[in-house]
Structure formats: C-alpha cells, structure tokens
Symmetry: C2
Subunit: 399 residues, 2 copies
C-alpha cells in the first residue's frame, strides 16, 4: 500500500472533536450531553441573512471573483468603517471561513521552516494550519493567574529568532476570552517595527466584548500598515458558522497580490455564503444588543459557578464566549473522556474541551479545560451542576 505523507501523520487531531465518538456513545445510552466543547452558538442567524438566501434569484450559481464578490467587499468596507477601520474592497480577500483566510496569510508570508509566535493557550486549529503550511509555532506562555494577559515583551524578544516572520494574536481570545487592551496592542506594534515582523490578528470575536470595554483592532495601530494582516469571519458575529465566509485584510499590496494567487488557484469563495454574509451586514444593532446581553448572563452563570466549585478557578474574561478554567483534576484529557464514558448525574453529563489541545508546549493545560458558553442559561445551570458533581467523584480529583 502506498505510504501516507509525513505531513499527514503530523497533522494534529482536533482536541474539540476527538471526544465526539464518546459523546455519541453517551447519547446512545440515553444521556443528556451538554455540549460546551465547541464554539457553535445556539443563537439564531439574523433573518436578514436567511431571507437573502431564500430570495436567491440567480439562474446560474456561478464562480465569483476569486477575492470575493465586489459588492460584498465594498459593503464590508462600510462595516469596518463603523469600527474605525478604514479600508477599501481591494484590501479584502474573502475566504471559505477565517480558516482559509489564515492559511492564505500563512502561505503568503511564510515558507516551510519559518516561525510564528503565538501566546498560548491558543486556538487549536492554528496548529493544523501551521503543519499544513510547514511552518513552526513558537508558543509563549500566558498564565491563568493574570487572566491570560499578553506575556511580557521580554518573553516575545526571547522567542524571536532569525526564522520568526510573524506574531499571531486572537483578540478577543479563543480559548481564554481575554481582551487585549491598548497598551498590549502598543507592545505588539513596537515589536513588529523593531523586528520587521508581520502582525496577524484574528478578530472574529470583535463584537463580543463585555463590561463597557472597547475593542482595539490591529488595524488601529499607526505606522505599521505594511505589517498588519487582519483575519475575520462572519461565523460567530452572525451565528453563521456553516456559511464559511471569512476574510483576510491588509493594506500591504504585495501581500494582497500574492494571497490572491492562492485564492485564484481555488477559483472562488462560496457564492451562497457571500449572499448571506453581504445581507447580514444590515443586521440591526438590536440583534447584537440582545446577543451580548444573553452572553453576559451566560458568562456570569459559568464563571460564578466554577469559582464556587472546590479547588476550581476561572478568570472573568472580557470577550468572546469561552473561558479556560482550572479544575482540581489530574489530567484534563482523561477527565473529559471520563465525563462522557463513566459519569452520570441524573442522566446528564458535560462535554468539555481539554485545554491541553490549546497549548503547544508539552504538558501544559493538564488541569485546565475550555468551556464554550454557547448554550442558554438554563442548560448552563444544569451543566455546571453536573460538572460540580463530577468533580466530587472523579477518581483523578486532586482535592
């Protein structure tokens, strides 16, 4: 039998999805499984987006421009303007999700063997994209003790080497929910100037910012237009993950010209998705107010519940819809599997993402889990109760 590639063997399994078979078995046994493992919100997609799809009137579903439908990109520019981000349609390439957009960015600026610095814990699929592009992730440690604030500048400078081409941050952060402040953005600005690096910012959770905080975008940073690549997506903003529409944005002409060649090779982004995404820009503000209010309640439910559990701790994050919590457990991979295989509280259990998958450094995150608060408050109350009971009886508990 012909062999598989070394690259294929190196591709990581998704830490979010690898427990799925256990969850399916649990459901077959009649268990209610609360899915807090994946960032798939239960919030309805805006009607304005769904109506655009229902009114689809083209006779031929044709290729779009490789960079995306022009009218969509033009309208996107007006969306960004509202966020004080000033770009034109030419600064945007639409991708099949932020996933494809980030892969375009990686391949445009990095060759196999090059390095990108990412504060860990980080979104696990960055590892997959890095293996895909043949590049290496150099993690620098951000700690639950600081609420996962940006690591000190000295840690970045220690990590930067001759192969370093970029710093990647996710802001607000998945998996930690941390929101970088203006001072932290300024640190990044100084770093990319001093070392001539790219700054890639994944800002797909831009709208999910709490407690009166302001979101600072990488595109707000002055004097580094050629260094900045913004990655974005409609998946979370409009609860439209399946639409598979994201984008990369940069004012660096050479970056955009090169990325377009990758975009042309795959012809075009999904046409239906672009129709929905273009219409979604007209989503009324009231939609976001309701959604934010809902997530605020969910966050409180989870954060308060966890901090009441014996030996458990989690920060109160200012953005996105995730928390990374420290639990009194020996091994989060074992614990999360045990929850699905062996635990039962009134026929209920919880599916969580072991945080180990969000760290690139071996051995980290063993007593941490990521919780997505994407279910309604009632479900979250039940889920937290089940988690509390689980921690009392888990054989590998440490308190």
């Amino acid at each position: 039998m012909p062999s598989i590639s070394i690259k294929g063997k190196k591709m990581p399994e998704s830490p979010i999805r690898k427990l799925v078979p256990y969850a399916e078995e649990a459901k077959k046994r009649g268990m209610k499984v609360y899915h807090l493992n994946i960032g798939q919100p239960d919030i309805p997609t805006p009607e304005v987006a769904l109506n655009a799809i229902r009114n689809f009137s083209q006779k031929v579903v044709a290729y779009s421009h490789s960079a995306g439908v022009l009218s969509y990109r033009e309208k996107l520019a007006t969306y960004y303007k509202k966020h004080d981000i000033h770009i034109t349609a030419n600064d945007i390439i639409i991708g099949a999700g932020a996933s494809e957009a980030l892969l375009f960015a990686f391949q445009t600026i990095m060759d196999p063997g090059d390095e990108v610095i990412i504060p860990e814990p980080f979104y696990a699929n960055y590892n997959g994209f890095a293996v895909n592009a043949g590049i290496n992730v150099k993690p620098i440690y951000s700690s639950i003790e600081t609420g996962f604030a940006l690591p000190p500048i000295a840690d970045f400078e220690k990590a930067i080497g001759p192969k370093t081409k970029a710093i990647l941050v996710c802001n607000p952060n998945n998996p930690t929910g941390y929101l970088y402040n203006a001072e932290e953005l300024e640190v990044l600005r100084q770093l990319v100037i001093k070392y001539d690096l790219y700054l890639i910012a994944d800002e797909v959770y831009r709208e999910f910012v709490y407690d009166g905080n302001k979101h600072y975008s990488c595109m707000h940073l002055k004097g580094i237009d050629d260094n900045v690549i913004l990655i974005d997506s409609v998946s979370k903003r409009y609860s439209a993950c399946g639409v598979r529409i994201g984008c990369m944005i940069s004012k660096n002409r050479e970056v955009m010209k090169t990325a377009l060649k990758f975009a042309q090779a795959r012809l075009s982004p999904p046409s239906f998705g672009q129709v929905a995404a273009e219409a979604a820009i007209d989503t009324p503000d009231s939609y976001f107010e309701e959604v934010l209010n809902e997530y605020l309640q969910r966050r409180s439910t989870v954060v308060e519940a966890i901090n009441k559990m014996k030996g458990a701790f989690c920060p109160n994050p200012q953005g996105a819809f995730y928390v990374v919590a420290r639990l009194p457990i020996d091994d989060s991979d074992k614990f999360c599997q045990w929850l699905l295989e062996d635990f039962n509280y009134q026929n209920q259990t919880v599916m969580l993402a072991p945080a180990s998958g969000f760290y690139s450094s071996e051995g980290r995150g063993k007593d941490e889990v990521r919780i997505s608060y994407v279910l309604n408050v009632d479900d979250l109350v039940h889920a937290m109760k089940a988690l509390e009971e689980a921690l009392k009886v888990y054989p590998g508990r440490t308190v």
Copy 2:
C-alpha cells in the same frame, strides 16, 4: 517591509484569469467580448437545487460534520452506485470544490519534494495546488496529433523516480476534452501496481461524454482500492460552480483518516452548498439529456469552424466542454492579449485561454489555445467568425 514567502512568489498566476483586465478594458471601449476562456457554463442550475436553497428552513447556519453532512454523503453514494461506483458515506470527504478536495489528497499522500506525474497539457490550477503543497509536477507529453491520448507506458516509466508518489489524470480531460478508454485505464492500473503509486483521477466532467462513448472511472479498476483517490465536484455537473462543493473519495482507510484531519482543521465545508448539492442529486435525467444535446451542437460548431480555418486544427474530443486547438500563430499569450487589446471585428472579439498555461514544460503550447464551448450556438458562431477574421490579420500569423 517584511518579506513575502518564496512559495508565494512561485505561485503561478492563473492563465485563465490573467487576461481579465484586458477584457475589462475592451468592454469599456464598447466591445462585445465572447468569453471562451473559462469553464463557467451558461446552463441554468437545476431548479431542484435552487429550490432547496430557497426553502432553507434551519434557524442557525451551523457547522456541518468536517467530512460533510451525513445525509448528503449517503445520498452521494446512491449517485455513484448509478455509475457502477460502489462506496459508502465513510469513503467520502466533502470539500469546498474539487479544489480543496485535491489539495487534501495532495497533502495526505505527498510531502514537500515529492512528485506527481500528470500528462500535459493539464488543468492549470494543478500547478497552483502543487506549489501550495510544495510538491513537484512531472509532466509527460500528450500530443494534439493523437487527440491528446494517454502517453505511452514507456513515457510514464521514464518519468517515475524515487520521489514519485502518484499519477494524476483528469478524465474526461480539461483542457483537451480527451476521454480515456478502458485500455488506457488498464495501463494506469498496471503502473500503480508495479510502482506502488497512488492514482488520482479528477472526474468532474463524468457526465459530459459524447457520441455513445462510456466513461470509465478509476473506481472501476479492480484490485487497486488502496491506490485510488477519486476527485469530484458538482460545479460542472449541475452548472453550479459557485456552490463550491466537491469531494475526495477513497477506500483506503488510512488516506481517509489522514485527509479528515486536514478537513477538521478547516472545520466544515459550506452548509448552503451542501443543501443545494444534496438536492441536485434528484435532478431529472432529462436535464442531462438536454444539456448533452446542447453541448454536442456547441462542440460541432467550434470543431467544424476551427478545422475550416486556414492553418488551424483541432481534434474532435469525446468529453468535457473544451477543445485545445492549434492555430497558425507565433505565441498564444501574445495572440490572446492582442485579441482583447487590438482586434475588432464588427465591435466583437474573443477571449481565449493561451494553452501555454496548461503545459508545465517551458515553451510548449505556444501555438495552441484552449476554447471552452460554454456559450450558446449563436454566440459561438459569432465568436468563431471573429476568430477566423482575427487569424487573417494577426501580425504574428504564421500562414
């Protein structure tokens, strides 16, 4: 300014799209431009597919399974059964077009530096995917004199080296329209057994087979289940290029398990597209009968017209909707640009794809163009007339 990757610099520009700015200029001057450069059919997408989209009733456009919606994959298996291809839902991974599916396949079986053998001329974007995956294309020459039949087995054996991992064929072929027969498929079968290679077959034009010929699929070949990877797409079959739904199919469990990790990293294929593609499987046979009849007339129109032009020649291909024609010209890149920039026949001109972009060997295809017969017969008659007149006055004509 930070540098661009070497990979990015190596990415080829699409030979189909690089003339687009000249076409836009021509249109601004009031010219009617017949687009025979791109495989974007004018045939309506089946109503059954569009209705499924118009009736989309889910409240949340959620991620699907990374391999694609199960009900879609199950229904796809029934589609293949009709074509005597016997597979299950587990043998299928849905991609964002055949483009993504082929990239999954390349990365699953090949590492940077590995080689894939492809008869040339070949679909130009294979070059882009190869650069993307860091692999090398080893072209072997198929000649217009034989109608672009499969090169002799000795040519394959000469090209196979220690780095060769796969043979890739497109059947029916883009750009040549050539349909490989049972004997040619048998040659490929023997080659992959003897040298333990993968056989990747891009069969997106399966339905477009003329003159009572039968399509032989790579999946019909006996005893090489672990070697075969089928690449497919709904783009051409249902004139739904913008839907961005394709797939890779293999019975090799290790291939599928590894490819799924690449699929998981990008989360899921487009949800709307899958809804349309699933519904499209119910497209009535009468749709294909009409479409085939239409393409037959178009093919005759183009092939007969070209073979009447002085010094021009094109084979009468048995599949797809392309022909590669030899024209009495010095340089097809110059000629195709000249058609858009300098030529005018009753305010009309033609946009063609220079065949040079479909050859990997330097210097080949200079007197050849690819013509997509994706316009109606009336337009094709006008386009061929314009082409005939152009050949009479082109400064670089060779007869």
